[in-house]
């Protein structure tokens, strides 16, 4: 591969050409819709562009200066981290717990699995519509249900005030995305050999000891991958939060994705938005590098 190709066998050269030919369409599409826009985003971040006219001037690093000195980016970063950590921890706890339960021999197990998995594949639009209806302050099932159970004594404004809005968003996020954890953990649970449990039982380990000493260590590697993947995906989540709260009240649930969108298409500052998106990407790069390190590209 590193040597000059003059004495590479004919067949090998033909195969290499065929291989390049097969990947060529993918590379073309990739460059067109991913690589070019990515570079363009960085380029655009050096301009001040007014969205409706798409006219702009070169401003150098001014957008980045605004990013660093202004409050918006840092506020959104903080909001994003609160949302990510909150929803991710809920997803993991719920997901692992549910996976352990579904791994047991319960009645109608496959039906239970289907019902649990369903939210993950549901359109975010549908999920948000249903939850906004559930959260409705006058007629919502959430408030009335909790009141009938005696947990609340008066209706709550779920999405319109803080900290309820953040809690609501985190809850819906956990509900929508925890099935991912369930499926991944379930798949791993099925590969834990029975003899490990038998050995632990012979050694006198009770169910709780077996969980800590057998199950959890076996799940560790898959959990690391799940946490990293979900952290990346939760960090960049747009649809769910935008549709539930629009970033409000005011900017209290405005994550970085929402900030970029609003800067570009509500405040019409496309260059500044591009700078925000580049900043966001740099933060994400940290997660990505850890993920690539951990999985080695698997």
């Amino acid at each position: 591969m590193t040597v000059a190709t003059t004495n590479t066998p004919l067949l090998e050269r033909q195969y290499a050409r065929l291989g390049a030919l097969l990947i060529a369409p993918t590379i073309v599409v990739f460059s067109l819709v991913i690589v070019y826009p990515l570079l363009a985003a960085i380029y655009l971040s050096l301009f001040s562009i007014y969205t409706p006219t798409l006219e702009g001037d070169f401003v150098g690093f001014a957008n980045y200066w605004d990013l660093l000195s202004g409050r918006e980016f840092w506020n959104s970063l903080r909001v994003t981290l609160v949302w990510t950590v909150g929803t991710l921890s809920l997803q993991i706890v719920l997901g692992v717990g549910m996976a352990l339960l579904l791994h047991q021999n319960i009645w109608f197990r496959s039906l239970a699995r289907s019902l649990v998995l369903f939210p993950y594949f549901l359109s975010t639009v549908v999920a948000v519509l249903v939850w906004r209806w559930l959260f409705n302050d006058l007629y919502g099932a959430m408030n009335h249900g909790l009141m009938q159970l005696g947990i609340l004594d008066m209706p709550l404004d779920w999405l319109g005030s803080m900290p309820n809005a953040m809690i609501g968003v985190i809850l819906v996020g956990a509900w929508k995305y925890f099935p991912f954890v369930v499926i991944a953990v379930l798949a791993r649970l099925q590969t834990i050999p029975d003899h490990l449990y038998e050995a632990a039982r012979i050694d006198g380990a009770g169910p709780i000891a077996r969980f800590w000493d057998v199950t959890l260590p076996q799940l560790r590697s898959v959990l690391v991958v799940i946490i990293l993947l979900r952290a990346i995906w939760d960090f960049k989540e747009f649809d769910l939060i935008y549709l539930l709260t629009g970033g409000g009240p005011v900017t209290s649930t405005q994550t970085l994705s929402l900030l970029v969108y609003q800067e570009a298409f509500a405040l019409n500052q496309m260059g500044q938005a591009a700078a925000y998106s580049v900043g966001m990407m740099l933060v994400m790069l940290v997660f990505m590098l850890v993920y690539l390190r951990k999985t080695g590209g698997r």
Binding site: M1, T2, N7, T8, P9, L10, L11, E12
Partner: protein, 365 residues
């Protein structure tokens, strides 16, 4: 006439050289085993013959035609894989017919050829099954059937028996020998099992570390191993190799001296290695004292582990029924005609002069 030739072949993967200076000439109709430990390059050699890997240098020819640039399917070869590589979505019949289909053989001819191969391998009742429904031995037969259906010039077999259990393996070994006799086709057979190589092959190419060590008949490989590696790799238990010094008519190690007939060796005085097969170490008489450390009874013979006075370990094979006890001190003899001398390096060459004309020294430059 040489049917398969490798001329000065080298294969490297990046900076790692898997094979070097490989020269092999296989005669038409010959059954050749490529034998060696894993990583010795034997499978790479076979895959290069098949056209699945490409030599970095050198020339490969089949039936007089250089095939370096010929696609696998056009080399007139057939291959049996260790994993059998049966197409899971095709029936047994479709699997066997596939090579013919790819060559545009008309349908009725195809059916007749499949029928013939199935008869030969007793696969007729299985033709409509899928590979997943077959036992390991049956899958093995299908793989053979797919290989022989189009009557290729050369058969390449990559450890075809290694996934079978011991009993089935020895049965299939006999079957393959019979098949080779009946078809009379050239077969190149990769294995790490010396028993397979010794029992089946006309000639064995012993490989180690990407180099050919010796290419000769089973008899020659066993009795006249080219170097220390071949001597230790062929034969169970391995040949005893004792490091010592050659001076005049004696080989000395510590307190032990062994008289030698210098005319049998082309060796100079100095450090060298004496090799004696366990069956040539006789217990009872002689002037070398040894202590018995372990006796393993295999039923028809005893494998006796001995220690010389300086602690050097030796193995001896004696007939079953001998009364030998652990800790006992015995006198041993090395049969003079069965003594080999080797140069002292790890891959030291054999220094005996008894090579007859048919044995070509295969170490090339």
């Amino acid at each position: 006439m040489a049917d398969v030739t490798l001329k000065n072949v080298r294969k490297s993967f990046g900076t790692f050289t898997a094979l070097e200076n490989l020269d092999i000439e296989i005669r038409s109709g010959e059954f050749v085993a490529l034998l060696g430990p894993s990583g010795c390059g034997k499978s790479t050699t076979l895959r290069m013959l098949a056209g699945l890997e490409f030599p970095s240098a050198g020339e490969i020819s089949i039936d007089g035609r250089v095939v370096n640039d010929v696609a696998p399917g056009k080399r007139d070869i057939a291959m049996v894989f260790q994993s059998y590589a049966l197409y899971p979505h095709m029936t047994v019949g479709q699997n066997i017919a596939y090579p013919l289909r790819k060559r545009g053989v008309p349908k009725d001819e195809r059916a007749a050829a499949v029928q013939k191969a199935a008869e030969l391998l007793q696969l007729e009742p299985l033709l409509d099954r899928k590979p997943a429904q077959l036992s390991g031995g049956q899958q093995q037969r299908v793989a053979l059937g797919r290989a022989l259906v189009r009557e290729p010039k050369v058969f390449l077999l990559d450890e075809p028996l290694s996934n079978l259990d011991a009993k089935l393996r020895s049965y299939m070994r006999a079957e393959l020998i019979e098949l080779h006799r009946r078809l009379g086709k050239t077969m190149v057979y990769v294995t790490h099992d010396q028993l397979e190589a010794m029992t089946m092959a006309d000639r064995i190419a012993v490989m180690h570390g990407g180099r050919l060590q010796q290419f000769d008949t089973p008899d020659a490989v066993y009795n006249r191993p080219a170097n220390r590696f071949v001597a230790s790799f062929i034969g169970t238990p391995s040949m005893n190799q004792i490091e010592g010094t050659l001076a005049g008519d004696t080989f000395t190690r510590g307190a032990m001296t062994v008289p030698l007939d210098r005319a049998r060796f082309a060796a100079e005085d100095g450090p060298c290695v004496m090799g004696v097969r366990p069956e040539a170490v006789t217990i009872g008489t002689g002037h070398v004292a040894a202590t018995i450390r372990l006796v393993e009874n295999t039923g028809h013979e005893l494998i006796v582990s001995l220690a010389l006075e300086d602690g050097t370990r030796l193995l001896s094979r004696v007939e079953a029924g001998r009364r030998l006890s652990i800790g006992q001190t015995v006198q041993i003899t090395f049969e003079p005609d069965a003594i080999h001398l080797f140069a002292p390096e790890d891959d030291g060459a054999r220094l005996n002069t008894d090579e007859d004309a048919s044995v070509i020294p295969m170490r090339s430059h």
